[in-house]
């Protein structure tokens, strides 16, 4: 059974006066298998948060259905299986992390004993112990995000829905969240998350879907979407004689000098191999060889351009 399944899911918001706004999500049909990490990508306003809100039952679809492990997302039973971390999570400022987790434990229907053990487990996992009795209002962005993750994990949900979990975090914070996502995957959880940090998405996701103006334009495994073809190769050589530099530069599309040596950019691997042979033949030293393949960011930009 799919962890997330949507069919023709659409949403059009209404203004305060009841007028229809432009369509926010248009006929979204996708599925996310159990124990999969799915990256949901799109520019601001593409419909990512609208989709997430529909999956979590925060808003009602105008058309179509969304199912969580087979349960209609409008039914409260579906939400027993979901742990949700909103973008910039907001919690009651007057509560401490311990009180916050206890409150959400009660909402999840956990007994006092279960709530105590949830606190023990999650405070250790997310290092909340040192800030257990501080009010949330004094928390930094990183601390709030850790608490948000802990709240999402209350009740041991099978599906984690994370909306921009890395937004606004410093490199250490981003790495911590990335590691948490991988840890959750190892614990057999399904993770559906949206992000603008495409390098992070590429590192942790099995599959991605790209939304453009409310429409799902691409979805698939990263190795299927990203072309394996090498885009350019950068060859770096040191101790090159001036005559050799001129000869090699003729084969390259661009070149430059740095402290490391001479950098030559060539269009494909065959030319790069010829260039390496020439470097060795001239008695110089090969310092680096970088084959640049398409990144998720390149692919994302290509999709955006295609859709314009």
């Amino acid at each position: 059974m799919d962890a997330v399944y949507t069919e023709n899911l659409s949403k059009t918001y209404r203004s305060q006066l009841g007028q229809r706004q432009p369509i926010s999500l248009d006929d979204l049909s996708l599925s996310v298998a159990e124990n999969e990490v799915f990256g949901f990508l799109g520019r601001n306003g593409a419909g990512k948060t609208t989709t997430i809100k529909l999956l979590c039952g925060l808003i009602r679809p105008t058309r179509g259905t969304a199912r969580i492990f087979g349960e209609d997302s409008r039914r409260k039973e579906s939400r027993r299986l979901i742990g949700f971390l909103p973008e910039n999570p907001y919690f009651y400022e007057y509560l401490t992390p311990k009180e916050t987790l206890d409150f959400y434990g009660k909402l999840h229907g956990l007994s006092a004993t279960d709530r105590a053990s949830e606190w023990k487990k999650l405070s250790e996992m997310l290092d909340l112990g040192p800030i257990a009795d501080q009010r949330v209002r004094s928390f930094s962005k990183g601390m709030r995000q850790r608490l948000g993750f802990a709240v999402a994990l209350v009740g041991d949900p099978k599906l984690l829905i994370l909306d921009e979990p890395m937004s606004g975090l410093d490199p250490l914070g981003r790495r911590a969240i990335r590691e948490l996502i991988l840890k959750m995957r190892d614990q057999q959880k399904t993770i559906f998350f949206s992000s603008h940090v495409l390098s992070d998405v590429q590192q942790v996701c099995d599959r991605v879907g790209i939304l453009v103006k409310g429409k799902l334009t691409r979805q698939g495994r990263l190795n299927e979407l990203l072309t394996e073809r090498v885009q350019v190769v950068e060859v770096v050589a040191a101790n090159l004689a001036q005559a050799a530099i001129s000869d090699i530069a003729r084969m390259a599309t661009a070149n430059r000098v740095s402290e490391t040596g001479h950098h030559f950019i060539v269009a494909d691997l065959a030319v790069a191999n010829e260039l390496v042979k020439m470097i060795h033949a001239r008695g110089a030293e090969l310092v680096d060889f970088i084959a640049v393949r398409e990144s998720l960011e390149d692919y994302f930009m290509r999709v955006q351009d295609d859709c314009v």
Binding site: Y13, C56, L58, K76, E77, F84, Y90, Y94, Y104, G109
Partner: protein, 253 residues
């Protein structure tokens, strides 16, 4: 369990808010200050203190009910704290009911504190604190529960400012429903009379909860009247909460 958790949290939020203490402080100060009015009303000091102290319990209770109540649900949506709550395995009506009950608890504690101080103050001044005084306090609380139900309903529909204006208007009209039914003769057989009479049965009759004059003048009030008023308030409040739950059920947050 979930309703109680939301109610406890709502209560906790209010008691950790300084504004609540400022309102209670002013309530207590007004109550104690009522003696000043007693001095200028020769021979009727106790009566004035009783009347004024009960009025201050009511006024400060209504202020809390309207200003805290109309932001109850709206604030959760505006501050986005609702995101992590509604996505839990709970029905939306449980949230609405929990928020309402939290406010009911808060108003109960406020009314009890102000009421006990008022009763003690009257007793210290040599006045008689009888059953009618107690009935007056209970009915004030019952009225506050009804005002809070209106505030909860409008909190799930509109902004706190507009909600407060509407609820305050209902509160004022609800204290003057008599003018809707006791119309002058020239209204006979007119459409206006039909409309106004219809409104009389729709608009809440808050006068039912006002026995402050009887309490101040030591006029006994029948227990049956108190029970009847409470049943009226409970039915009306129940209907308002049902409407609030329905309004919130399909709301996009």
């Amino acid at each position: 369990m979930r309703i109680i958790a939301v109610a406890q949290n709502t209560f906790r939020e209010a008691v950790r808010d300084k504004v609540f203490y400022v309102l209670v402080f002013f309530g207590l100060a007004t109550l104690v200050g009522s003696k000043a009015l007693g001095w200028i009303s020769i021979g009727q000091e106790i009566k004035i203190v009783k009347d004024f102290s009960l009025a201050s319990v009511s006024v400060f209770g209504v202020l809390i009910a309207i200003f805290v109540g109309t932001s109850l649900i709206y604030k959760e949506i505006d501050k986005r704290t609702i995101y992590t709550i509604i996505c839990r395995p709970m029905a939306r009506y449980e949230f609405v009911l929990g928020k309402y009950l939290g406010m009911a608890l808060l108003l109960g504690v406020t009314t009890a504190v102000l009421g006990i101080v008022a009763a003690a103050y009257v007793a210290i001044l040599g006045g008689n604190v009888d059953a009618t005084f107690f009935y007056a306090l209970v009915l004030i609380y019952w009225e506050l529960l009804m005002v809070t139900a209106f505030a909860t309903l409008f909190s799930s529909l509109t902004s706190p400012i507009l909600g407060a204006i509407i609820v305050f208007s209902i509160y004022v009209v609800g204290h003057a429903t008599g003018i809707l039914i006791n119309l002058p003769e020239h209204f006979d057989n007119t459409a206006s009379k039909t409309v106004l009479e219809f409104m009389y049965y729709i608009v809440p009759n808050f006068s039912n909860f006002n026995v402050r004059a009887e309490a101040a003048n030591d006029v006994p009030v029948a227990l049956g009247y108190v029970v009847w008023s409470m049943v009226y308030g409970a039915v009306y409040t129940g209907m308002l909460l049902l409407l609030a739950a329905v309004a919130f059920e399909n709301k996009d947050v």
